[in-house]
């Protein structure tokens, strides 16, 4: 789970963004990209001293100006679960494919190894069988 995929997964979730200059933005994440550029909606902006506030309908923040983002803690668990589920699904799909193909591939391999007279083990590519 890379930091930026966590950010991607945080769409529509509330978050706090602090810029390098100390200003903070509280809002819901609308969208983000791989540069960490983000758009927020229903935003409360606070100046660096924390004594002035602005309310914005929507705002865009350039990724390079960000110091950090604070996201809801349950998000990490949610993303982890999601990933495990995706991995499980991928594995079972791939597993079916491999076990189906194996019987067919095994037989010709033996034939190819024969004419050269080489030991059979040498004829097989490393790791191919898996």
């Amino acid at each position: 789970m890379l930091p930026l995929s966590l950010l991607n997964a945080a769409q529509n979730k509330p978050m706090l963004v602090e810029l390098k200059n100390g200003e903070t933005f509280n809002g819901h994440l609308v969208n983000c990209d791989n540069f960490m550029n983000i758009t927020l909606r229903e935003v409360y902006q606070t100046n660096a001293e924390g004594d002035r506030f602005w309310q914005l309908k929507e705002c865009y923040i350039r990724g390079s100006t960000i110091k950090y983002l604070r996201v809801p803690e349950p998000l990490l668990d949610a993303v982890k679960d999601e990933q495990t589920r995706a991995r499980e699904a991928g594995r079972s799909a791939r597993g079916a494919h491999v076990s189906g193909g194996r019987g067919g591939r095994g037989a010709p391999a033996r034939g190819r190894g024969g004419p050269r007279g080489a030991p059979m083990r040498g004829g097989r590519g490393r790791g191919r069988g898996m």
Partner: protein, 136 residues
């Protein structure tokens, strides 16, 4: 194993994942949390993060939750020795009690740095810092 991984951010931080880490930011903030993830820019994901402030031999901390820190702003990332962290001769106090002292300290330091930079600029021909740098 170690020697096979080149010295890069991604190479040297693998061992730190799922460990309790101390992160110092460029603005001087000190965060402690469990490192859950990072990337080639040293962007960090810190879980169960607490922010700590120190003054003389006391400290205070505040729970801040889940952080995604942009790598650029990281000064230092260090592992916390769980066996030794309780042995540190510091006393914990309430955040509200310590915060004013800490703020004062930060302001004093800022003032000193500005005065120093001004003198270096006027008398020694150094350039002024902060054209781009930390401002944005």
């Amino acid at each position: 194993m170690d020697s096979l991984i080149p010295f890069t951010t991604s190479g040297s931080l693998v061992d730190c994942v799922d460990r309790k880490m101390l992160v110092v930011l460029r603005d001087g903030r000190k965060l402690q949390g469990v490192l859950r993830s990072y990337d080639q820019f040293a962007n960090l994901v810190l879980e169960d993060t607490v922010e700590r402030i120190y003054h003389q031999d006391v400290f205070a901390e505040l729970h801040r939750g889940l952080f995604l820190i942009r790598g650029e702003n990281v000064v230092l990332l260090g592992e916390i020795d769980l066996d030794q962290e309780d042995e540190v001769p510091l006393r914990q106090v309430e955040w509200a009690a310590l915060e004013p002292y800490h703020k004062q300290e930060v302001n004093d330091k800022k003032y000193r740095e500005e005065a120093k930079a001004q003198i270096l600029f006027e008398r020694r021909g150094f350039c002024k810092e902060g054209g781009e740098g930390d401002g944005y």
